[in-house]
Assembly symmetry: C2
Homo-oligomer: 245 residues x 2
């Protein structure tokens, strides 16, 4: 046995809780809400079931706490990204890529697992709504930063933001039944072009690269023509067995 330092109560609680919360998210992602049980979560976390029940009275409490912790982590990242974007005046393409990566990296898969529960369980839903609101505030910060730096209308920018989020949600839902990377990368490229059209060029910078006719057949094949070649665009399609973050 390795030297096991004496840990304070607070440390023990923090570690055990964290293990359980992480295990819950991992299993939620990998197996789904209806398939996970408290014995399984305890096993995955490497603690006894008694420890689990000690820290979380009910399964519902454990799951909502786990989701809240996840959303708070993601929201913190979001706010950091917003500051970064505001500082260096990033492009809308960058934002779309970020959202896609964030959402398809477990976040929306986990969301899809608990949405049905939230739809039928008001207490569950009520616990989630506030932290989800906070998450949306993070999103708003990002887009408002872009709107400010480009002099775009905030109200209209919010509509574009909301549409972007909903589009990505729908795309990720679609990955469950449809495996086709081209389908997703084409749609992302199309959407980036759409979003870019709503933000005028930065006032500081001078000329536009290619004005491009803004009429109907705007982007016959909107795949490549836009900015970045393809850093790590789409590719993710419903990863069932994901390693932990």
């Amino acid at each position: 046995m390795a030297e096991r330092r004496r840990r304070s109560q607070h440390e023990r609680t923090a570690e055990t809780s964290a293990r359980l919360l992480n295990a819950t998210i991992d299993l939620l992602h990998d197996q789904g809400f209806s398939r996970i049980s408290t014995p399984q979560i305890a096993a995955q976390a490497g603690v006894s079931r008694g420890a689990l029940t000690h820290h979380f009275a009910t399964k519902e409490e454990l799951v909502t706490d786990a989701i809240n912790a996840m959303l708070e982590r993601v929201t913190a990242d979001l706010h950091r990204f917003a500051e970064d974007i505001a500082a260096r005046g990033g492009s809308s393409d960058e934002i779309v890529d970020y959202i896609w990566r964030m959402m398809s990296d477990r976040l929306f898969y986990v969301t899809m697992e608990y949405l049905p529960e939230a739809r039928h369980n008001d207490e569950f839903k009520d616990r989630l709504v506030p932290v989800v609101k906070n998450f949306h505030a993070g999103l708003d910060a990002i887009w408002m930063a872009l709107a400010a730096s480009r002099g775009a209308d905030p109200g209209h920018t919010r509509t574009v933001m909301n549409a972007s989020m909903c589009l990505v949600r729908g795309m990720i839902a679609q990955t469950v039944l449809r495996e086709d990377p081209d389908y997703y990368s084409e749609m992302l490229a199309f959407w980036k072009a759409q979003v870019a059209r709503h933000f005028p060029e930065k006032p500081a910078r001078a000329a536009r690269v290619a004005p491009k006719p803004a009429t109907a057949p705007a982007a016959k094949r909107a795949a490549e023509p836009n900015s970045k070649p393809a850093k790590s665009l789409p590719a993710r399609t419903a990863p069932k067995r994901g390693a932990r973050a």
Copy 2:
């Protein structure tokens, strides 16, 4: 006892199966996949549990059959609508409205209930994929009819179609946690304007009503300015207790 006509075996099977399949979809919509049980379905259908097990060996079989039946119904409607659109040359606004109505009228709520199951159960998924493909063929027919009548590029039209579907999926997912009719109607109006931009006017008809600048701040408030005032646009927000169709 009221006069109970002698029914053929075939009639009895058809009726009992139909009752069970309908009850399954109703309960799937109202309670969710994880909450429904075979005793409950039998009760809702007004048949005994024995009758249920006689016609459907497993719960999985019952549920997939029920979903398939629903999707086939919706797909039939879709093809009818496609013919109709082709015949009278409807607008893209009309199509967007139709899709929104169709999806938010239980279809995508039911889908959200079974997607998690499909994600973790390959057999379940494999049973669904073919009928979902057929559904998408119906969608394709609609949009290709529009593209043909407007002389739009089919490939690009498909991208717009896919984006429309994903957007609507994401919007409906969002209704679970966010109740805000304006949010949805604004987004729909915005999207209709986007889609309309990709279809040139009908060659037969003469003048355009209002060309409208297609530049950045295209629709500062895109709520009313588009075509139809508002027939039965959005309004639906996560109806938990829906009457049967």
